[in-house]
Amino acid sequence: MTDVGTEFTPEAETRLGEYLRQVREVLAGLPDVNPDEIEADVREHVANELRAVPRPIGPDALAAVLARLGPPDQWAAGDRPDPLRRAGYLIRERVRGVGAAVGDRLRRAWDAISRGPEDWRLAYLTFGVFALGVVVLPIFPICLGVSYFLGRAGIAHAREKGIGLAARRWLLYPPVVIVSLKLFVGLVLAPPFVTTGVIIEQVDQRDRQERWELIYRSRADERVVLSRDFIASHPEATTSLDRTVAPFPGNREVQRVLATLFLGAGLVAFWGVVVGSLGGLFPGAVRAVFCPLCDRFRGKHGWWLAGSSLVGLVVWAGWAYDLAADAGLLS
């Protein structure tokens, strides 16, 4: 086959491609011909006709040659095309087109990984490892960890070279964002809520123990079960927790919910002071750990968080002091 494609202007090359597509389509329905061979003959014919034409060959020179070749549907005049053969050809062409497109993508990806610049290689590797974990779920944690570090390396490499990530971000970000999001939730958001839950659980256990002793002693009955209804039917049993939450409005249940929220608010404010201060002192560490979520984080942001949280904590402490005084805990 004579490859003349590179000698044409883009417009002429498109025109030739369209003509050859028509040739293949017409010949597909004809029995006893080899469309590939004829396409090669036509390419050779065009190359011979245009041998003396200055390069690159434009659409006008090509059009004259194609006009002499004639419209491809004329080539089949008088022949009886086989519809089954034609349908089979069209299906094969479609499958071949899809296969070629997929193959081209895979080839480009492999080229980028094996021979391409480092930034693309890392991007494809990152996404490849991540995708493998998604497909084979049992190894997802391992793949996520590996792809996270590969992604971080890719991002760092791009920054080091001063080039934008552009489309590479879609390959690099998925594992990095997932891990960073988990770290952000685990290190920044969760601690005050987890701590609140743990404290409430501990207090609740002690309260149950205290309430059980109060009610058991009054009834001398070891089968006492501290159900919600049972507690409600013994309002006379007042525990330390009941006295502590008494300053809050509402009945005993509402008071306990409000007290929990109040405790949580205090812990959130306290944690805000801690996290904000650390962020203010080490902004680079924040950007590194929570990349790319906190790429624009600066020390001042940490201090703003610490300052506002400190104000909230002071207000909370004052309120807590008043509540403790109302509950008689300070006397």
């Binding site: 011909v33 080899n34 004829i38 014919h45 041998r51 002499r68 080539w75 089949a76 008088g78």
Partner: protein, 115 residues
């Protein structure tokens, strides 16, 4: 109606004659595909589109009437040359004989004196 009939008849006649001409062009020699096209295109009224010859060559090759050989070319890539097979030569002889009979018969009919 007449126009369609004439177009169809011309197509069929030209197709048959073109097939004969392709085989005749290869009698006693081998030719480069592009040269076959150019030789036949020079015959007035025989070839409407130069591209029509390539499917004929492809079909003849599949039917075993012609065979191809690749030969180096000083002007570029190797070229594909066509030549008749033994079967192609036999068929060409029969087709030329049939064509001569038809042509002579038509001439004879056309030259018969009017009654």
């Amino acid at each position: 109606m007449d126009t369609d009939f004439l177009a169809n008849w011309t197509t069929q006649m030209r197709k048959g004659l073109l097939e004969l001409s392709v085989l005749a062009a290869l009698r006693g020699r081998r030719l480069y595909g592009y040269d076959i096209v150019k030789r036949l295109s020079a015959v007035d009224g025989l070839v409407i589109g130069e591209g029509t010859i390539y499917p004929i060559l492809s079909r003849f090759k599949k039917e075993g009437l012609v065979e191809t050989t690749l030969a180096e070319s000083p002007e570029g890539p190797a070229r594909k040359y066509y030549q008749l097979t033994a079967r192609g030569r036999q068929l060409l002889s029969k087709m030329l004989a049939a064509w001569a009979d038809v042509r002579d018969g038509i001439d004879q009919v056309a030259q018969e004196p009017l009654p």
